[in-house]
Point group: C2
Chain length 219, copies 2
């Protein structure tokens, strides 16, 4: 059977970026379809009727929703090249734990950095840095979370890179000063083609943050 | 190597019940340790320093946190008996999707049924029933979500059974009238020993809900 792979996505979605990186790591040919989130395509609504969200990976007509589930699916189906999850069940459980931590904790506290009002930002910043430091500890002296090679946790986490640089630019927080190991790790990830070509241009993200801050009144 | 398995848990936790059912399904001997959540044990804080929550499965001294991750771990390590996840990657991704839906959606909207004030309860009830109906659709005419046998989604979902019966008792909502297929499925699950012996007595849950409603003023 021919492998027809379509990705319904939106350029700035860190969740979409995860799936893009996994597809690129495995070298899977696919059609990328940019969605207009204010006017979602009938295909998106049909393929993800529950959440109606991108990204959706469509493999031979069948949808896989939720980014971490899609990345695991890609890893299981295209298992000959660039394994993302370790084969050992314990190591695998730990990779899943940290990816889950990124979804449950990091996204929440990272978002607070630019949506909270001035007076709440100090607390938001502190919580954010503490949450990042836990991940730095988990990285330890490894090159990547996956060891010598990019793994599941790296794929889950690196899409936040550009957003963090956005915070930097707005002068509210220096991720690089506070978490130098995170910074060094992110730079190593960005050297990998599957990552760099899957992440959008930093200036475009910066402009978007400016626009969103204005639109929603977070100044 | 001997398999030393310890479960740090709390009797009423639906997340803990998932791990209990998985251990029972596989017939894994283990030591159950009830935690006092107001005075957590040093072992719990050491084994789950990130979230400091039960359940924690400890296998030969190493912790696995987060219930769905622990259930997957159990399924992968003790893989000779009672498989919980399908082996086919697509079917596996769908089981993960629905288990994730239960965590993200069902727990949230179910909780609203007894924490919201009177005037908000009608909307909460409607949302809850709609969320359940999506799961009923997914079940379709299968015996269990896992097909002929208990599977990952069944294990993720059935711990809510007693709580739903609690809503019934309080007369706010008739889960059984609104979702008869859910009711029939839950009854089938409760016929299975690994489930029935892992779920607490219904009267104890009822008493707990009464106590919590009083304590937090949800009347």
């Amino acid at each position: 059977m021919a492998n027809e792979v379509i990705l319904l996505d939106y350029w700035v979605s860190p969740f979409g970026m995860r799936v893009r990186i996994a597809l690129a790591e495995k070298g899977i040919k696919h059609e990328y379809r940019e969605e207009d989130l204010r006017n979602k395509s009938p295909l998106l609504l049909q393929m993800n009727p529950v959440h109606k969200k991108i990204p959706v990976l469509i493999h031979n007509g069948k949808p896989i929703c939720e980014s971490l589930i899609a990345v695991q699916y890609i890893d299981e189906v295209w298992n000959e090249k660039s394994p993302l999850l370790p084969s050992d069940p314990y190591q695998k459980s730990q990779a899943r734990f940290w990816a889950d931590y990124i979804d449950k904790k990091i996204y929440e506290v990272a978002g607070n950095n630019w949506t909270k009002k001035e007076e709440e930002q100090e607390a938001a910043k502190k919580e954010f840095i503490e949450a990042l430091k836990l991940l730095e500890q988990e990285l330890g002296d490894k090159i990547f979370f996956g060891g010598d090679k990019l793994g599941f946790v790296d794929v889950a986490f690196i899409p936040l890179y550009n957003w963090f640089r956005g915070y930097e630019a707005f002068g509210k927080i220096s991720v690089y000063k506070e978490c130098p190991m995170f910074s060094a790790w992110a730079n190593r990830c960005m050297q990998i083609e599957s990552v760099s070509k899957s992440l959008p241009d930093q200036d475009k993200i910066h402009d978007l943050i400016v626009e969103l801050k204005k639109k929603y009144g977070f100044e």
